[in-house]
C-alpha cells in the first residue's frame, strides 16, 4: 500500500507491507533529484559557497558552513580566527534552532491533536533568522562564510541585539514549550521533573505516555555524529556505550533502485543522526533518563529535539561572551584558492544530523563534489534483512497514520536527501 508523504521539503513515497495487521516492512522512495553535485563540476571553488546553500531552504546554512570547511581543508594549513569560527558556529546554531521550532509547531503538533501553529512557529524561527541576518546579511541563503573567515564585520551593538533575540527565544521557550527556568532545565536529569511543568512539549510527552505510545518509533538504538564543535561531540553510541573514534573510510554510500536517495552506512550498519544521537553522544542527563525509560522511541526523539533547542540558545549566549571583537574576521589565505589543488572533507551538525561534504579541487576548479545528508542516514531504504533506521522504527505499527508520525519525528528533508 503506497502512501505519498508530503510537506517534508518535498515528498516521499512509503510502500507499506502488512503482516498480521501490523506493518512488517516499509519501502521508502524519494522521487526527485536535482543533481547539485553535477552542477558544481568545473565551477570555480568559491562559487560552491553560493550554489550549495540552495541544496535546501531550511538547512542551507549548514551546507554553506560545510562547503567552507571542505574548501579550507584542501589547504595544508590555513588560519581562521577564533572570532570567525565562533561566528560560524553561532549562525549555524541559529539555523538549527529555527528549524526545530518550525518542526515542532508545523509538523509534530498536529499528530497530537493540537493544530499547527504558524504564528508560534514563525515568531520563534524568525527571531533566529533575524539573528543570522545581523551577522551574515540575510536569511535564508547567505554566503557570508568564505575560505579564510567571514565577510562580515559586526560590532558590539550587533552582538547586543543578537543576545536580545536569543533571550526572546528563551522566553518563548519558557512560555510555550516548557515553563522551566533555563538553569534548572540545563542540569535536569529526570523527566518526571518535566511532567510537573506546563507547556506544549509537556502536553505532547504526556499524551505519548497516556496513549501508551512509549514504544513507538524504536529502532536500532544506534547513534552517530560527525560534526564536532564547541557544543557537539563527535562519536557514536550503541545504546549508551559511547565511543569517540570515527573514520571517514568506514562511511559508505549505496545506490538503491526506485529512489533518488542513496543509503549510507558506517561499517555496513545504519545509524541514527540528529538531536537524539547528539544528546546520547554528549550524554545529556535529561535525555539519558528518557532513554533509560523509553529507549530510542518518539518520546526521546521529540524530547531531544526540543531540549537541544534550549541548550543551543543557552550555549550561543555563552559563545557570544567569549568573542573578542578585535580579532580579524577574515585572514587572507597565503595561497589563492584559484591556484589550489587538493581534497577536503568537512563534517557539520545540521538540524537533522551529520552533514558531510567532500570536494576535489584542481587549480581552483571543482573536479568532484560529494554530499551526504543527515536524512540519508535516518531514512535509508534497506532490504527486509537490513532495514534502515526509520524503516525499522515503523515495523510493528498498527497503521499508516502511526507510521507517518514516526517517519516525521525524524524531521525529514526530501530535497537534502536527494540533492
Amino acid at each position: 500500500m503506497i502512501e505519498l508523504i508530503e510537506k517534508i521539503e518535498g515528498e516521499a513515497k512509503l510502500d507499506f507491507s502488512f503482516k498480521d495487521e501490523l506493518i512488517d516492512y516499509v519501502k521508502i522512495e524519494f522521487l526527485t533529484a536535482r543533481g547539485i553535485e553535477k552542477i558544481l563540476q568545473n565551477r570555480p571553488a568559491l562559487d560552491a559557497l553560493v550554489i550549495n546553500p540552495r541544496v535546501c531552504g531550511i538547512c542551507g546554512h549548514a551546507h554553506l558552513i560545510a562547503t567552507t570547511k571542505a574548501l579550507e581543508n584542501c589547504y595544508d594549513s590555513i588560519e581562521i580566527s577564533q572570532k570567525a569560527q565562533i561566528t560560524r558556529e553561532l549562525t549555524l546554531n541559529f539555523e538549527l534552532i529555527q528549524n526545530h521550532f518550525k518542526w515542532f509547531y508545523l509538523v509534530m503538533t498536529p499528530f497530537f491533536g493540537m493544530p499547527q501553529d504558524p504564528k508560534k512557529a514563525v515568531y520563534a524561527s524568525s527571531l533566529m533568522a533575524k539573528a543570522i541576518a545581523i551577522l551574515a546579511g540575510q536569511y535564508p541563503h547567505n554566503s557570508y562564510s568564505i575560505v579564510g573567515g567571514v565577510t562580515s564585520s559586526f560590532t558590539n551593538g550587533d552582538l547586543i541585539k543578537v543576545t536580545h533575540l536569543i533571550d526572546e527565544c528563551l522566553l518563548f521557550f519558557k512560555q510555550n514549550l516548557v515553563d522551566v527556568d533555563f538553569e534548572e532545565f540545563w542540569i535536569c536529569d529526570s523527566i518526571e521533573h518535566i511532567f510537573e511543568k506546563q507547556g506544549d512539549l509537556v502536553d505532547i510527552l504526556l499524551k505519548i505516555i497516556y496513549h501508551n505510545l512509549t514504544d513507538m518509533g524504536k529502532s536500532y538504538d544506534r547513534f552517530i555524529a560527525f560534526g564536532e564543535n564547541s557544543y557537539f561531540k563527535r562519536g557514536k553510541s550503541k545504546k549508551t556505550v559511547v565511543s569517540e573514534k570515527l573514520k571517514i573510510e568506514h562511511v559508505q554510500e549505496e545506490f538503491i533502485s526506485d529512489s533518488y536517495a542513496k543509503n549510507v552506512y558506517y561499517k555496513n550498519k545504519s545509524y541514527e543522526v540528529g538531536p537524539l544521537a547528539r544528546a546520547m553522544i554528549n550524554k545529556i542527563p535529561l535525555i539519558k533518563d528518557s532513554h533509560r525509560k523509553y529507549g530510542d522511541s518518539i518520546f526521546s526523539r521529540i524530547l531531544a529535539r526540543v531540549c537541544e533547542t534550549a541548550q543551543l540558545l543557552h550555549h550561543s549566549k555563552q559563545l557570544i561572551n567569549i568573542i573578542d571583537i578585535r580579532e580579524p574576521n577574515y585572514i587572507k589565505p597565503k595561497i589563492d584558492i584559484k591556484n589550489l589543488s587538493g581534497n577536503g572533507i568537512a563534517y557539520v551538525e545540521a538540524a537533522r544530523g551529520s552533514l558531510i561534504h567532500g570536494v576535489e579541487l584542481q587549480n581552483g576548479i571543482i573536479k568532484d563534489y560529494s554530499i551526504i545528508t543527515p536524512t540519508q542516514w535516518n531514512l535509508g531504504c534497506g532490504s527486509r534483512e537490513n532495514m534502515g533506521i526509520a524503516q525499522n522504527a515503523m515495523v510493528g505499527l498498527k497503521n499508516t497514520q502511526e507510521a507517518k508520525m514516526v517517519f516525521k519525528s525524524f524531521d525529514v528533508c526530501s530535497v537534502c536527501t536527494t540533492h
Partner: protein, 289 residues
Amino acid sequence: MKTKILWLSGISCYGNVHSFLTYPHIDIFLNDFEFIYHPILDSTYTLLEITQNTKECDILLLDGAVADDFQRADKNIKSIIHRYSKTVKKIITVGTCATFGGIFQYASYKNPAGLHFLGENLQDEFLHLRAKTISISGCPIQPEILINTLYSIKQHFDIPLDSYLRPKEYFAYTIHNGCVRNEYFEYKVDNHRFGELEGCLYYDHGCQAPYTSGSCNKILWNEVNSKTRSGSPCFGCTESTFPKTNLFETKKNMGVPQYLPLGVPKRAYLSIAGVTKAFKIDRLNKKMM
C-alpha cells in the same frame, strides 16, 4: 472572503518557502488568504487532491523551475500548470528559478527553465499566460515583495511591470540603492578587504549591486540587514544571468569593470571615475573605528 492561492513547487530548494516564513505577520496574512496547497503550512487540500483535480483557485504561485519530465504526485508539472492557468486570475513566478531558470536550469531534468524565460530568452510554451503573470525574482525572494504583491492583486491595484514582468515598485531600484558602503563607491575607493566595515565590493569582490534590480537595501532582509551592508557581494540573484561564475571576483578589462552600473554609459562612468580617482579623500581611506 479569503483569496485562494496555490503554492506549487517545481524544481526547487524551498528557499522561497522559508523566506516567506520569516514574514512576521503570517497569521494576519492567513486571515486574508487561503492556501489551497502549501509545502509546509496546513492547506485546504493535500498534494494528491490538488494535482489529481483542478480545485478552485484565484492565484497560482509557481516556485522552482519547470521541466518536461518533472512531476509532483506523479503528475507532470507542466500539465498541472496548464490546468490551473485556465481558471486562475493571476500567476506569480516566485523566485529566480521559476522566473528565469536560475540555478535549477542546470538540474538533471529535460529542458529545465523558468515559466516564461530561460535566462534572457522568452520561452514559447506558456506565452499565452504572459498577460496574467507577475514575476518576482530573487534567490530567494524577499517575503515582503511577494506578500505586498498578493495584496495588490487582491485589492485590484495597478501593478506596473518591467520587461521581465517584475513589479517596478520593487525592481525599478538597484540593490545598490541604500547600501551603507555608498561613499566608497561614489569616490571610487577601491581597497576593500573582506571582513571590514569599510570599502566597496564592486571594484574587486564581484558585487553586482549597481546593475542588479531589487530592493534588498531598501526593504532590508529580515528587517535588519543586507548582504552588501554586512560585507558580502551581491550575486545578482534577481537577474536572468544568475548564477554567473567567479561570483566573488569583479571581471575587469584593463582595470575597467566589465559590467557597469545600470544604464550608465561607459564614457560617463569612466569620466566620473577619472575625476574621482584624481582625489584622495582621507576619511574614506582610513578605518572608521
